[in-house]
């Protein structure tokens, strides 16, 4: 996986409008990121190959139809998206769940509810650590 020391462009994937709105404010206005959004796993697969592509994908775990885990696997199966780091957002952030997500290839996990004032720092911290 290629690690970007200082990610600039985040693809935010969540099926809930309000959470996308809050996270976009947090990442863009607080964190200074460029943001792209997708409301489903299917849409994320399309947005992830746009030009320029995202430096990191922030992916909600619990979504209807294609959930976060399936979306991650499909991103990894595509040569053009498999190197993009993925961070999960989930309310189910117990140790066993986090280990499962990291084993599947996620760089890290951010717990919901998240703090909008520190979300961008969390994203940068996880990318900088490279999942360590």
């Amino acid at each position: 996986m290629i690690m970007t020391d200082s990610p600039q462009r985040v693809l935010l994937v969540d099926d809930e409008d309000d959470i996308r709105m809050v996270a976009e404010i947090a990442l863009r206005d607080v964190g200074g990121f460029d943001t792209m959004t997708a409301e489903s796993g299917e849409q994320a697969l399309t947005k992830a190959v746009e030009n320029p592509p995202p430096d990191v994908i922030l992916l909600d775990m619990m979504m209807p139809q294609m959930d976060g885990l399936e979306t991650l696997i499909r991103l990894q199966m595509r040569p053009e998206t498999r190197e993009i780091p993925v961070i999960f957002m989930t309310a189910k952030a117990q140790t066993a769940e986090i280990e499962k997500y990291v084993a599947a290839g996620a760089l890290g996990v951010i717990t919901k509810p998240f703090d909008p004032m520190t979300l961008a720092d969390q994203v940068r911290g996880i990318v900088a650590d490279g999942g360590a």
């Binding site: 809930e16 309000d18 959470i19 709105m21 809050v22 404010i25 947090a26 206005d29 607080v30 619990m62 209807p64 309310a91 919901k112 509810p113 998240f114 703090d115 909008p116 004032m117």
Partner: protein, 104 residues
């Protein structure tokens, strides 16, 4: 719960979405009391738990979490449904009553 719970940056978004979020809580209260489609209710409670917590309403998030956890652990009795539904009505009313601070 009041407007000072919401991070300042999110106040405009909250004021814009307040009614819609209250409508979601009301719909969940009705569905829970009726026992119609607990799977959808569980998902709805899960989403509200995250959203309300992120907006700074930790008590509201806890109420939604209680609904989610109860539905996850099995089919609740009608008495439990009524109790949880009533908690959601109280939450709805508290959130609906929040007014912007002067100048917001």
């Amino acid at each position: 719960m009041n407007i000072s719970d919401v991070p300042e940056l999110l106040v405009p978004m909250w004021l814009e979405r307040q009614e819609a979020i209250c409508d979601r809580i009301e719909a969940l209260a009705v569905a829970l009391a009726d026992g119609t489609n607990d799977t959808d209710s569980q998902m709805s409670a899960h989403k509200l738990r995250g959203l309300l917590g992120t907006l700074g309403f930790s008590e509201g998030s806890e109420t939604a979490a209680e609904v989610e956890n109860t539905l996850m652990s099995g089919t609740p009795s009608q008495q439990v449904r009524t109790q949880l539904s009533n908690s959601l009505v109280v939450l709805h009313d508290e959130l609906a009553a929040i007014r912007p601070a002067e100048g917001q």
